[in-house]
Subunit: 329 residues, 2 copies
């Protein structure tokens, strides 16, 4: 089995690569080739028996997608994206990567399937940013898509294309709307949602963090480990159960900033909580205000997708996966 | 005021042109220039005092949109589209005109607005094809968009782009989802929905017509005159009332074929009704079965959009607008 990951150098892409190599199989088939593509060359992990092809590519160029699709991978994970904050600031870049990049990929698959029978499973990472206020407290899978960011617009368009190309039998798509990934390891990125992670990640290791919104802000979270689980599961499920509605709200945890902070206090004490500096940012607050807070994920759950149920669990996963199992002395 | 109509040579485009020239104003401003664009050169009506610029253009080429936006029209009616049947048969042409054509237009407007303050009203004709079964009996404005045709997908993407470019202040968009236009003037065509018009249009002038579905079939209609009214009203409304949800189900009439036939009987007698030959076509019946039948249009109605309330009215409009005010002897 040949697997392609587009966006393999990103945090989720790297963890997905590790997970695939850890078992060496997907859907009980041995992985023979793993193609890793990103804007920077993804790291090439050591993997006996698996051919790894790591490439630095610009997916906003049509010929890049053509080259990748010509490899005729069996499963394609399309994770590459310009994140919300950057797509909002750089209109052209966001549309070039998030819309054109996705469409070029689907078109390159179409060209391959025109040439010779080919219909790869495509797992497309969408986002809860496809939904925009006003919305109900719990948003169902089939709530109207009214994104209030260019990023959300681009993801919603990706979902529509995924459904149309799937309906046409060009590809076999599953769109997964990821919760905000928390706790995102590493340095802060340009996502406006970054603080949801940094208010835990930094204080857990004794560093300060900035909170730009009110404690009462409610948001929707899942761990990196859960995100990798969603991707692997999306590559496995029987898509007949999806019908024409190919995109799913992934399960997650609805929690307030106050609840996050309380979980931090239990894990690392008052001195960790004291490292959070409140610095209200009206631009971030306004963006966050337009985001959904809670979801009805019964469709995904019935299909076997799973996530965490508490912030204690999310913090424990972070300590286990990123901090070697314990907080620094 | 400068008005641009893209898709001006089509049935609705021609009637919109006539309506604009009949008053010579839009929103109480005198029309000084009317640019008419279509894939074939639109007819140039006689219009003293109004400069008319009729062009044959291919909107799937970016430079065409750039030329049109460089004229900096105050109001743009974007009606041009590859219709559903053709977009389903010709994948590339549908995406080129319906998606790329729309995006090139919005991008060209963006380039103009970057150069010098510019934010035209853009009236975008969407379609009830953005909705796909399964759906409720009455579909609200904010029902989930799950098109089941490439045409519907392209229109749904157009709606998303319209909303994002509007949110960014690049243009001031209103998307209108038109009902099936009935009674469509002209010759019978091969569109699956064509019979809804032909079972009235032909018998009204003593010609036979074929009915391929059961009398109990329910569908969603508005007259050509109502469609022109929607377009003009969409150019007038205060878009502040739309918020971020820029596309609206237009009002219409939900009626069964039996109700259509009864209205024909009242207008033209039993001998007109006798000209309808029942010739069940399972393929047409199956397609029609997947179409929406009724809509909740309270949002559009509260904004002042209006349509007919009976088939008697729709038939009277056809007689007035297409048959010189009376049925042939």
């Amino acid at each position: 089995m040949h697997i392609l990951i587009i966006g393999a150098a990103g945090m989720v892409g790297r963890k997905l690569t590790q997970a695939l190599l850890a078992t060496g199989t997907l859907n009980d088939s041995p992985i023979t080739t793993l193609t890793l593509a990103d804007v920077v060359t993804p790291e090439t992990p050591d993997a006996p028996g698996i051919a790894i092809d790591a490439r630095a590519v610009d997916i906003s160029r049509a010929e890049v997608a053509e080259d990748l699709a010509a490899l005729r991978p069996d499963v394609i994970f399309h994770l590459a994206a310009i994140v919300s904050g950057e797509a909002e600031q750089d209109f052209e870049k966001g549309y070039a990567i998030n819309l054109d990049g996705t469409r070029f990929l689907f078109e390159a698959i179409r060209a391959q399937s025109d040439r010779e029978r080919y219909c790869p499973r495509v797992v497309f990472t969408s986002s809860i940013a496809v939904f925009g206020a006003p919305f109900p407290n719990r948003i169902g899978d089939e709530f109207f898509l009214t994104p209030r960011t260019s990023y959300g617009t681009q993801k919603a368009i990706g979902e529509l294309l995924l459904a149309d190309y799937s309906r046409r039998g060009i590809l076999d798509g599953v769109g997964i709307r990821l919760p905000t990934i928390c706790i995102r390891p590493g340095k802060p990125n340009k996502a406006a949602s970054g603080f949801f992670s940094s208010i835990l990640r930094e204080p857990l290791v004794g560093l300060p963090a900035v909170l730009p919104v009110e404690d009462s802000v409610r948001h929707w979270h899942a761990s990196p480990r859960a995100a990798v689980g969603f991707l692997l599961h999306a590559a496995r499920i029987d898509t007949a159960a999806l019908g024409h509605r190919r995109s799913l709200n992934m399960p997650g945890l609805s929690a307030t900033v106050a609840e996050q902070i309380e979980a931090l206090r239990r894990a690392a004490g008052d001195k960790a909580v004291a490292l959070i500096r409140r610095e209200p940012d009206p631009m971030v607050a306004e963006m966050v205000d337009g985001w959904a807070r809670d979801f009805d994920t019964s469709r995904a759950v019935s299909l076997g997708f799973e996530a965490e149920r508490s912030f204690a669990e999310i913090i424990a996963i972070h300590i286990e996966d990123e901090l070697g199992g314990q907080l620094p002395g």
